[in-house]
């Protein structure tokens, strides 16, 4: 019913505008779409050298683990369930950080922890943790500086805004990052067998 019909007289401009507003269909799709972003893939990797990223500052969003690295295949695994001893020369302690880059991609960064016996490469490990600490409060990218023998962080000078963190728990995110066969929890794991020349 137009406003003219309701009143039988010419409407005021305000009354007509109110009537038009009452027959308007909603255009706020962001509120009504009924679609949510579902996280199904989480990369398990170091930050790329060109990538500005942030590390979640909460201690509950990080986990110390034993990392197994097959250098030839450039593959990373997490060792659990007592198999660490059998893979000693491939294993190293590492800290898993929850990260997000400027494009909003969530990833888990396994940063190797400094070794207590101060073997070589310690500066790489120490500087990686320093990069992670910086990335808790700033957008940072890290370049592996071969001359320096350490990671060189670069902090963004401009205000790039706060990172948008996923709503999933860290445990659920880890499950996605380590899905498939990325956890070695028995000597029957294909990667172990391959390493031992059994396949």
């Amino acid at each position: 019913m137009t406003i003219e019909n309701i009143n039988g007289t010419a409407p005021t401009e305000a009354a007509e505008d109110g009537w038009l507003a009452s027959i308007a269909l909603r255009q706020d799709y962001a509120e009504t779409a009924g679609v949510e972003k579902v996280l199904v893939s989480v990369p398990f990797r170091k930050p790329n050298k060109d990538e500005f990223f942030r590390v979640h500052p909460s201690p509950s969003n990080r986990l110390d683990i034993v990392l197994v690295e097959f250098k030839t295949e450039r593959e990373l695994f997490v060792a659990m369930g007592g198999v660490e001893g059998a893979l000693l020369e491939l294993s190293t302690p590492a800290r898993l950080f929850l990260c997000v880059n400027r494009q909003g991609t969530v990833f888990v960064w396994p940063a190797k922890l400094p070794l207590t016996d101060r073997r070589r490469n310690d500066e790489w490990r120490t500087s990686a943790l320093e990069v992670a600490r910086l990335a808790e409060t700033s957008w940072v990218r890290a370049h592996a500086d071969m001359n320096l023998g350490a990671y060189q962080p670069f902090r963004a000078q401009m205000d790039l805004g706060a990172p948008k963190w996923p709503e999933l728990s860290f445990a659920a995110i880890l499950k996605l990052a380590l899905k498939g066969d990325r956890v070695i929890d028995s000597m029957d794991h294909w990667a172990v067998k391959q390493h031992l020349g059994q396949v």
């Binding site: 137009t2 003219e4 507003a21 269909l25 255009q27 799709y29 009504t32 779409a33 400027r102 401009m158």
Partner: protein, 585 residues
């Protein structure tokens, strides 16, 4: 009847005129047939009786619905006869388009004519051959014999009876839509404004048009001669395909081809290739100036006004789609110089400023984008917000980066990807990616809304404007076309409301042009008319955008004896005028 969306009306009259329509002229009514659909009361009025009637022979008050197919034609007949307009109009043609808009051709065979609409619902009708035969006889004009008069009235009645059968089918299919009847009547109100605007028309310098037509062969050659030395692609006034192919090979330009393997010479191909390869632009410009100019098609009436159907709701977004060759704003920009107010009159061209950006900011609720729009220069603001230019940068101080950012802002509305953007801007793909990412970061809320709009469209199978103009989404629908649809289609709603308000306020609107209005007034009153029109445009914006305003600008004010000049067409117009003067000398 509580469930009848048209139950509020005491009477529903289905109406059709037959009329003589010559290019550019107002219609000359030949007969009228009208039927009230509930009582079946029938009225048939022949030509001589029509002229004697001071008003329609049926009620046109608020409680009576007037139904016609392409109602602007019927309403133009009202104006020609000096009859009042009906208060409430439902245009069955517009509603049929709204029913099928976006559906693939296989579902909507035969276009959107009344015969096609009847066929769509499986309703019988006269054959298109029979219809064409009667139309031909009517256009031949009087004198009509008595038998012919009866035949024409009978033919007109077949349209009325067809429409009476069509109406309940349309209502049944469309009424489940939220607020459909109110929206349909609002569209009908716009069709009334369209009839008024078509009736008004655009004043044309008929003498100049006559000179152009009679000297067209020489003008064509002169336009080509401007670039012939550098681009020897024409023989006389004929574009030679083999020369063009050799030229492309020499310049190492890969050119799209038709399915038959020939070089594609379409307007769209030239438009896109000229963006990617600037060396092609002069060829495109000359071809545009020549090929789009079939001056004899320009519809100018004996009163010197360009007048043609605006084809309201003729595009998927519901914008008008007037014929490019008949409408003076259709051909090359330089021909707009033919627009000239008559003695004592003035014209003004008012447009919405960056309407798409303003609509995007308001509907998405992105405050950063709204601030950028409100700054008056959304493109420079984007550059600053994204860190691509320092705070305080202006169009003058950072022209290049502003130009880049303008292209990015507009390209994002169409879902343009980095590769295409890189080609368009002649930058690396990496740089193009960075610019697009910068836009996504800076206006995250807009992107979230834009994606949600596409998701909603795909999930529900359609997307509606604020006042219910629907685009169906099918597997054939391109997602990139959906990205810009809310901006285009709600922008169209805004301009329609502006037309309604301006015309109903008594402003003489000559024509709507995309997101602009051309208005006319006596020279002494043009400034007042401009302010009143801007107020109408601002009000329309507030209604569509929930209180936000898209800015309006006065692009041109032209007072007699000056003529309308589009900046893009000045050079060619002066060239042509120079040629005509030399010939006259």
């Amino acid at each position: 009847m509580a469930d009848d969306p048209l139950g509020r009306f005491v009477g529903i009259w289905v109406v059709d005129f037959e009329f003589i329509a010559r290019p550019g002229e107002r219609p000359d009514p030949v007969c009228l047939v009208a039927r009230e659909v509930r009582t079946n009361r029938l009225i048939r009025v022949w030509r001589d009786e029509l002229a004697a009637l001071p008003a329609p022979p049926f009620p046109v008050d608020e409680n009576t619905l007037y139904v016609a197919f392409s109602a602007s034609a019927e309403l133009s007949c009202h104006l020609a006869l000096g009859w009042p307009f009906p208060a409430q109009v439902l245009d069955a043609h517009v509603e049929f388009i709204n029913l099928i808009n976006g559906l693939p051709q296989r579902f909507v065979k035969g276009g959107t004519s009344q015969l096609a609409a009847l066929a769509h619902f499986g309703l019988s009708a006269i054959t298109s051959e029979e219809k064409a035969q009667w139309r031909k006889r009517i256009l031949e004009g009087p004198p009509f014999s008595r038998d012919e008069a009866v035949g024409i009235l009978d033919y007109c009645q077949t349209d009325v009876d067809g429409l009476a059968a069509l109406l309940p089918r349309l209502v049944q299919r469309l009424s489940p839509r939220s607020h459909w009847a109110d929206h349909a009547l609002l569209r009908g109100r716009y069709v009334k404004a369209v009839a008024r605007m078509e009736h008004t028309g655009v004043p044309i310098d008929v003498a100049a048009l006559g000179k152009l037509v009679s000297n067209w062969a020489e003008i064509k050659v002169a336009l080509i001669d401007q670039i012939r030395a550098e681009y020897p692609l024409w023989e006389g006034a004929t574009f030679k395909h083999d020369r063009f192919e050799a030229w492309l090979i020499g310049k190492r330009i890969p050119w799209p081809r038709t399915e038959a393997g020939r070089l594609s010479l379409s307007r769209d191909t030239f438009k896109e290739m000229a963006k990617a390869y600037p060396i092609v632009a002069p060829i495109r410009e000359v071809r545009e100036n020549l090929s789009s100019m079939r001056l004899s098609d320009l519809a100018v009436g004996s009163d010197g006004r360009n007048r043609t159907s605006l084809f309201p709701f003729g595009t998927k977004s519901s914008r008008n789609a007037p014929s490019n060759s008949r409408f003076v704003f259709g051909p090359a920009a330089w021909l707009r110089a033919l627009i000239r107010p008559t003695r004592g009159r003035a014209l003004a061209y008012l447009d919405y400023s960056a309407q798409e950006v303003g609509v995007a900011a308001a509907l998405s609720g992105d405050e950063a984008l709204q601030r950028a729009y409100d700054s008056g220069d959304p493109y420079m603001s984007f550059a600053v917000d994204a860190g691509l230019a320092p705070a305080g940068a202006t169009k003058r101080s950072h022209e290049t980066i502003r130009s880049l950012c303008k292209t990015v802002v507009l390209a994002t509305n169409y879902g343009q990807q980095a590769q295409a953007l890189a080609e368009r801007l002649d930058i690396s793909v990496l740089q193009a990616k960075q610019l697009l990412q910068a836009h996504r970061r800076t206006y995250g809320r807009f992107w979230q809304w834009s994606q949600a709009a596409v998701d909603t469209a795909v999930l529900t199978g359609h997307v509606d404007t604020i006042f219910g103009w629907r685009l169906h989404v099918t597997p054939d629908t391109r997602v990139t076309s959906l990205l810009n649809h809310p901006m285009q289609s709600n922008g169209a709603e805004m301009l329609r409301l502006a037309c309604i308000f301006a015309v109903e306020a008594g402003i003489s609107v000559c024509a709507p042009v995309h997101d602009a209005l051309l208005i006319e007034a006596p020279v002494a009153e043009i400034e007042v008319a401009i302010e009143r029109t801007r107020a109408c445009m601002a009000r329309a914006s507030r209604i569509v955008l929930g209180g936000r305003e898209v800015g309006t600008g006065v692009d041109k004010v032209v007072r007699y004896p000056d003529r309308f000049m589009d900046a893009r067409g000045v050079r060619v117009w002066e060239l042509v005028v120079g040629l005509l003067e030399r010939q006259a000398a």
